[in-house]
Symmetry: C2
Subunit: 210 residues, 2 copies
């Protein structure tokens, strides 16, 4: 998993690193799992760290078409904690130990009905590293075959298709605020102009990354 | 505040919106404040939503110099929940009701020792809208005057200065994973090429946004 492979080895950054001394579970059983650990700081003193243990998530950047301005598929979804409807890439939380591409295939199908014939790895992002272990794996998808969406119970999402440059114009006007969507947009533009590697694999072959 | 001004009005997106019916505090008093609310879904059924109430945060994109490839100032910091050292813009959590530019000035000084003579608004981003009310306000800073850093007790950060294009190369190689840092990098490149509005205000004048 790229997230693991790129991690610093032990002993590096000893002047910055915090080491666990022990911990407890503050909240568990519902949606959020909250832990409080005692850590040893670089100067030898101790401190408390509260954080969410999160299984990770995926976001899918689905391309409909070729060329410099392909249509892309997004979803609109109400996000209760901020009471706003956000425009986002199809995305969702990983099941325990679920490979990220399998999760990407599942979330794309559930939220939009699309099945992709080719996938390209995007990268990991850390969205709340101060208080959550969440990493989000970004995948690009193309060769989309339409079908019926299969939303989870209690999930209400609306599919939106628009040209990439129209999405980019929303960003330029400050109207996109979701972090995975902004980063996926920028990485897509970089890939389309040859400024970022883009390796496509057929959906029936095993991905190079988890 | 832009975050408020751009919010959809009541009644819009009724087919997506979730309404609070009541709630309780699950965890409070330490670092994280966790709530569980009962919500009414668009189809009239009910569901539970667990989320963190967060005061919001700021990140500062500090420029040292002019031209298409200015030096920028970042910090390296160990993030305990993911056990990794991340390269990030100077950033921090807002005090209750603290204006975002005041918070930006405070965090820039505490973490790097710099004071800026001019500020430009970047935008709001939502980094964990599924389970946190956090918004991060991005500010650009220039005209930097050096001084001693004043880290909080228990905070260990290392200041790093590098050319913008070197930071961008880290992104192209997949070595930047912090969301506010990736988005600030892309917005800075867009602003420098005239593709994103950039309005600078002297530090001794009131900002146009909170």
């Amino acid at each position: 998993m790229p997230d693991e492979a790129s991690r610093d080895g032990p002993g590096l950054d000893a002047h910055l690193r915090e080491y666990p001394l022990g911990g407890e579970t503050l909240l568990s059983g519902g949606f959020l799992e909250v832990h409080r650990d005692t850590v040893r700081l670089p100067d030898g003193s101790t401190a408390m760290r509260e954080y969410i243990r999160h299984p990770g998530a995926v976001a899918v950047i689905p391309l409909l078409g070729e060329g410099p301005d392909p249509d892309v598929v997004l979803v609109r979804q109400h996000r209760y904690p901020i009471d706003r409807v956000l425009l986002e890439w199809p995305a969702g939380k990983r099941e325990a130990d679920e490979p990220t591409r399998a999760c990407a295939e599942r979330e794309l199908l559930e939220e939009t009905g699309y099945t992709a014939t080719e996938w390209a790895w995007g990268g990991w992002i850390h969205n709340a590293a101060a208080y959550s272990s969440e990493g989000i794996a970004l995948w690009f998808a193309r060769g989309l075959q339409p079908g019926p969406a299969r939303p989870d119970a209690g999930e209400f999402v609306e599919t939106v298709t628009m040209p990439l440059l129209a999405l980019s114009a929303l960003d330029d006007r400050g109207e996109l605020t979701d972090v995975k969507t902004l980063i996926g947009l920028h990485w897509l533009k970089a890939a389309l102009t040859g400024n970022r590697p883009w390796v496509w694999t057929r959906a029936d072959r095993a991905p190079d990354v988890a």
